[in-house]
Structures are given as structure tokens and as C-alpha cells.
Symmetry: C2
Subunit: 444 residues, 2 copies
């Protein structure tokens, strides 16, 4: 077994490719990288002459299968919708499969077949999902094995600007990752449980229901609940835990201002606008506010949200939401049009650096006392290519592939990195590259 | 041509069947009625011995096509999702097609084929859509033919309790029509235009943005904007009209109280709950409110919506939202669970009567002056079978079929009742049964 195929050479793959190329050179394995754009592949592989560069349209099923047939291990870095098809090919052709994305429901139905064929299918092995699973399970299993009881688990993660570059705009925010995901984040209802009370938060309330999360040296951030925290009870073996919450981190003040855009309806992604020529940003904002030709949009927003701080309106003004300039995009959903506005404002400059933060909080009861355990991860981007995002996705996934190739994992089937056999060596490997959690314990 | 087939014998078909049975008897046409339940068919046809009763599972494509093959005209009273498949069969087998539902987008793509085959496909010929098109177009075309200019068009419709029976509960409301549609009404974004200003209202704001609509003798009602009013500009030939709005009517005070359920998230239909045994209505309400074991859900709602009237909380209490009784349903979306609660409370009693209201408002400019035209429809239900809903859906659709059978319509293709050739004789026919609009004109 010595052929690795990576499908997709997008921005987030820089670290993964460099890491795997180095490991392949050391072990005399063959690494192939395929993408729709040969130019992108060549840019990623320019320092690695041994990596085989391929041009591939993944929608061409025949060519795709031929490439997969010639490999032993396939890593999908394609857009999430493609993973299932690649995984299906791998199952058909008897190849091992790795991804950093959520496990497709349809794939779970094929668990037995994957197991029976002796294949190793590992999903959710990037940052979030990925490092969150691994670092949480390390503490959960350690405490449970010591006979202790976990009564609270909260987990927060966020992709942000590094503190050195965050103060430049009033939002302290720029797109360091998929911008579209940021604009539609939180749609639906977020669920969690607190002291035994189920909590369900609809989207239009989500960004008001934040909590504060402190990082040593970095200070306070705010977090909004992130989708379905309840399902993590069974995944993590915490079925009867009275408090579990997962949240997304933002710089202080972000959520209150973002909430205005949500309340107005500007993040709606369910209906298509077709606005007349010359429609301005201000006209768009005004269209989501009640009719009153005597009032400015700013005045109407104040009426709508009486406890609004002045600085929140300034944040909207800074985005250009009250500007009489033409919209950068006139057709599409409100979320798509808002995205076009935000992309002009929240674009990373070459000198900007990103940062990834993660924090787990546990309350652990054992030996007649209660302790709080905090586990923090802080990763800074080096430059525009070696971003914190690329590192925290690339190293865990790369390490998983590397360790698998070395024969470290004996389990087979469709897996998450929640097994000690898998997460322990991966966490050890990524620590060599600065992906290391800091643990603090406070007696309650 | 003398065979009419009606598919679906649900509650709303009583008037349609009676009307068509009578016309078929007079003209010696054959009427067949098919439904999944033969018992339902027999109940509908008990006074009409000439009507052929059939049992049909519409998902059985072969049997369905055989039935359609033996008819000349097919009327679909099935759930909306089925219309397209029936219409496709009709196109394939060369049969004419009638429905009271919105035209399926996929069907529009087959317009040329329908036209070329000389078929008559009429959709949106019930109440809303249906009578709204016909009665609005009658005035629009009359005024435009007279050289007048329409600068405002608002149209409101609602299915309510008759005033004699409305005062019995604090909501003045019961389900007189599809309960599920009431619970999820307004999802997405509602759009309209007012004095040239585009207005987009997201769902969580919709029930706050009501306007008052007066009916002579009946008094004031409230209306919330109903989905995409903008698309009616081209349908009705009002492309550059500065004000167009369609709205749904409710009794005064309904929307403010309903809005609390919307704000809490209880009408969400996007995620599945699986609540523990013994979960009460109060626990459900509380789950959508912030965590605070010292406060009751009522206190939390007051904090969330500071300008809340006491009577709105009483409306929620009357529904049982603060009751410690077990939920009638523990799994499903919040909307589905809320529906189960509401169905216990908003169920029509045998002595209750329903009412359908419609009002069009126009501002018409011509001859140097401006006039306001109001066109009102008020229809009361006779009993549980001859409801106002069954009348206002059944008579227009029945009249369309009858007039078509008599050879009154020359046009062919996929049609709406917005052509004078179609709406004028239908409105004349339904007026014989009390479906008659009252027009008032006020000089501005």
C-alpha cells in the first residue's frame, strides 16, 4: 500500500499537501493531487517534484474512477456535496477514504459493507469537526476511566483575525474561511441542554443569546450556540449529561451587530430578489424596514431595536448598508447580495493573519470534589497560504493518513476520530507542528 | 365529450360534487368520483345515484391512467403535490385538466405541448387562488379599458369563524381549513411594493406588520402580507403599479398573539424534536426561552417582548402553553407539535360556522380625478359540510368545468382565470349561489 490520492487542491489544502508530500518522500510513497484546475495543482506542488499533478473534473465519473482505482488511499478535499460520491467510488473499488467533513447520512447506511470489505473510512478529521472530537474525547475518556463524572461540557471554536490585525475595522472581523458559511451560519434552530433544561433557539434569536468565553492572554470572546449540541451526547458517550453546549466564537460585539442584519432579514437565503437597475445599498436596507418616507433607515432601525447601541449602527454604516452607492449584485437571495457587500469589506489583506481558537470546558466530579477543566487551542496563521485554518485542517487529516499508511490503526469501518486508537497518535503528531491544547484545572 | 372525473373526495369537495352532479344529470353527462377511501366517495355521492364511485390509490399509476383514459375532463382535488402527476397523465392521454391549486412550475414548461394538443388546462380556479384572480381582473380590465390608471391595488382574503361563533375563545379563531397551512403560514420572506418602495418582510417580523381592513357590517379585521405580491404585477397587467399588496385576514388581535409563538420558535418546521417522556407544554414553551430557573415562562416572555399586552399572555395560557399537562405529541418539528396542541383547542364544534372574506382595494385615476374602489366578498358556511370554504372553492371550479363542457371557452393551453372569456361567465354563474362581490366607490 503506497499510493495516496488527494482530490481537490483548494486554499485549505496547502498544509495538507506539504505535510503529505514530505511524508511520502521519506517513506517512498506516491502522492497524487488532482483538481479541476491544473494550474492550482501545480501551484500547490511546485516545491514537491515527486507529487503527481493531475487535472480532473470530478463530475467525469469514468476518469474519476480510473484515478481512484490507481490509488490505495483517497483524501477528499472537494466541496462537501462531492464526498459521498467519492466515498461510494472508494467502497466500490475497495479503497480507503479520508475527509475533514461531516459524515454523509447515506454513507452511514453502508457501514456494514465498509466494515466487511475491511476498509478504513475516516470522516470529520479536520478542525471542527475533527480536532474538537479528538481533544474533547481525550479528556472525557481520561476522566471516565479515572471513575470521575462529567456534569458539564461546553465546546467553542472560531476562525478569526489574529489580535494584531483585528482592530483595523469596527467589526474586528474578516472572512478567514468560507464566506458563504459565515453569512448563513445558524440557520434553523440551535439546540442544547443546560442543568437538565432543554434549550431550543430559533435563528432570529440566536445572536442575542451569546455567552462570554475567556482565553488566557487573548481576553474575552463571545460565542453563540452552534446547531445541534444534543446529538454530541451520544457521540461522546455523555448520554445523561445535564449541560452540553457547542458554540461558535466571535470577537466581542460582533453578534449584536450581526443580529441587526439577521433581524432585518438580510441573511435570508430562501427567496430570489431581482432588483431594478441602480438599486443602492441604502434602498436594500430600507426595503427590509417599514414604510415611512419621513424616516431614514437608521431611524427605523432604532425604532425596531430600541436598546441599540450607537456603535452597532456605525458598524452597519461602515459596511455601506446606508450608502447610496449601487449594490455590487442585484439578483440572488438577500444572503447572496449581502455576501457580495461583505466580501468587499471583510476581505483579508496580504498582511492580515488569521487565528483559530478552540476551548473545551468541563465540570468534573470525583473523589468528593468538583473541578473545572479548561482545554485551549490557539493557532496563528503564518501567511496567506499557511493560514491557521489550513494548519488546523491539514495537520490532523494529514496525520491520520500518515499514521494509517504506517499501519497504526487496526480498526476498520466507517469511523470518527473519537477512538483513542485514532485520536491519541494524531494529537501527538499534530503537537509537533504547534497544534497543541493547553489544559488548566480549577478547583470549584 | 361527456365524461368528467373528479380525483379526491376530501372535505372541500362537497359543494363541487353536488354542483357537478346536478349539472351532469341535467346534461346527461357522466360524473365519476375516485378517492383512496371508497367510504368517503360514497358519503359524498349518497344523494347522487348517477355518480360513479371509484376507489383509487393515486400512487397506482396504471389504475390511475386507466381511469383518466376513460374520461374527457379531469378535476384534481388531491393534495397539491399530486396535481403535477395528474396533469402529466392528462397531457399524455389528451385529457382536459382542472384544479384549484397553484400552477406547478414544471407544468409551465409544457405550455406549448398543451396548447399544441388543443387541451384546456385551468389551474388556480378556487377561492385563493381563484376568485381573487377573477374578481380583481374584472375591475382591472374594466378600468383599463375605460382608459383609467390604477395606482394602488391591495387584495385580502381569509378563512375565519362566522361572527356569531367567533367570540367563544380569546383568539376568535378556529381551524376552518388545512390546519398545517395555518401553522406554517408566512414562512420565508413576504414581498410587496408601496408608493414605489420595495418591501421585504422576513417571517419573524411578519405578524407585527399588519394593517387594518374594514368590512361594512362586519367591522375591522387585520391582515399580514402574504408571500410574493410582486409577481402579481405581471399576472394582472399592472407592471408599473407603485403599490401592490396581498394579505391574509385575521380577527383583530390574532397576529400579535400568534407572533409570540413565532418569536419563540414554536412554528419552526425545519428540525425534528424527540422529547423525553412526560415533557409538558410548559416545558416546551420554556425550552424556547432563556435559561433561568427563578423565572416562569410567562415572566421570560414579558422580558423578551416588553410591550406585550396581558391579553396576549392569556391567549397563550388558554392554548395550554403554560400547562403542566403532557404534550399531545413528543416527536416531530416544533410546528407539528404545536399543531397537535392547537388542534385540540381550535377544533370546530358541530354548531360552529365558517366565513370567507375577500376584499380588493383599488385607487383609480381617470378623468382628472381619483377614486377608491372596494370590492368585498362575504360568504358564510351553512353547516359542517356546506362550509364557506367548500362553497368558495367548489362553485368557481365547478362552474369552470360546467362552462367548459358547454363549449363556452374557446382558448386552449395552460390557463388562469384572468381572461375575460373565462372569468366573466364563471363570476356570473357563481353569483347564482351567493358568491357575489359588492362594489363601493369613494371619491378621493
Amino acid at each position: 500500500m503506497n499510493n495516496i490520492l488527494v482530490l481537490g487542491a483548494g486554499k485549505s489544502t496547502t498544509v495538507l499537501i506539504d505535510y503529505l508530500a514530505k511524508k511520502c518522500k521519506e517513506h517512498n510513497w506516491k502522492l497524487s493531487l488532482a483538481d479541476l484546475s491544473l494550474e492550482t495543482v501545480q501551484r500547490r506542488t511546485k516545491h514537491h517534484e515527486d507529487v503527481v499533478a493531475k487535472k480532473l473534473d470530478v463530475n467525469n465519473v469514468q476518469l474519476r474512477k480510473e484515478l481512484i482505482k490507481g490509488s490505495d488511499v483517497v483524501v477528499s478535499m472537494l466541496p462537501p456535496a462531492m464526498h459521498y460520491h467519492i466515498a461510494e467510488d472508494c467502497l466500490e473499488l475497495g479503497k480507503h477514504f479520508f475527509s475533514a467533513s461531516y459524515t454523509d447520512k447515506r454513507l452511514k447506511e453502508k457501514a456494514e459493507e465498509i466494515q466487511n470489505k475491511g476498509l478504513f473510512f475516516l470522516n470529520e478529521c479536520g478542525l471542527d469537526p475533527g480536532l474538537d472530537h479528538m481533544s474533547a474525547m481525550k479528556i472525557i475518556q481520561r476522566e471516565q476511566e479515572a471513575g470521575n463524572h462529567i456534569s458539564l461540557f461546553k465546546s467553542f471554536c472560531g476562525g478569526l483575525l489574529s489580535p494584531k490585525h483585528a482592530g483595523e475595522n469596527p467589526w474586528n472581523y474578516k472572512f478567514t474561511w468560507n464566506p458563504r458559511n459565515v453569512v448563513v451560519a445558524g440557520k434553523g434552530v440551535s439546540t442544547f441542554i443546560r442543568n437538565g433544561y432543554y434549550k431550543f433557539i430559533p435563528y432570529h434569536m440566536l445572536f442575542k443569546r451569546t455567552e462570554s468565553v475567556d482565553f488566557p492572554k487573548l481576553g474575552s470572546f463571545e460565542a453563540y450556540p452552534n446547531r445541534d449540541s444534543l446529538s454530541y451526547r451520544s457521540i461522546y458517550g455523555l448520554d445523561s449529561i445535564p449541560t452540553i453546549l457547542r458554540g461558535t466564537l466571535r470577537n466581542k460585539g460582533f453578534c449584536r451587530a450581526w443580529n441587526i442584519l439577521v433581524m432585518l432579514g438580510l441573511t435570508d437565503d430562501s427567496f430570489e430578489l431581482d432588483l431594478p437597475e441602480g438599486f443602492s445599498c441604502q434602498m436594500l436596507t430600507n426595503a427590509f424596514l417599514p414604510y415611512d418616507p419621513q424616516m431614514t433607515p437608521q431611524q427605523k432601525i432604532k425604532q425596531l431595536i430600541p436598546d441599540l447601541d450607537k456603535e452597532n449602527l456605525e458598524k452597519l454604516a461602515w459596511l455601506g448598508m446606508f450608502s447610496t452607492e449601487k449594490l455590487p449584485k442585484r439578483t440572488g437571495t438577500p444572503a447572496e447580495i449581502l455576501l457580495a457587500i461583505l466580501e468587499q469589506k471583510w476581505k483579508m489583506n496580504p498582511e492580515d493573519r488569521d487565528m483559530v481558537l478552540m476551548q473545551h470546558q468541563f465540570t468534573v466530579v470525583g473523589g468528593g470534589k468538583s473541578r473545572s477543566i479548561y482545554s485551549d487551542l490557539t493557532v496563528m496563521g503564518d501567511d496567506q497560504e499557511y493560514t491557521a485554518m489550513a494548519k488546523t485542517v491539514g495537520y490532523p487529516l494529514g496525520a491520520a493518513v500518515y499514521l494509517f499508511m504506517k499501519g497504526q490503526f487496526k480498526t476498520r469501518g466507517i469511523l470518527l476520530p473519537i477512538l483513542k486508537e485514532i485520536y491519541a497518535p494524531i494529537l501527538e503528531e499534530v503537537a509537533k507542528f504547534g497544534i497543541e491544547f493547553q489544559e488548566r484545572t480549577l478547583d470549584a
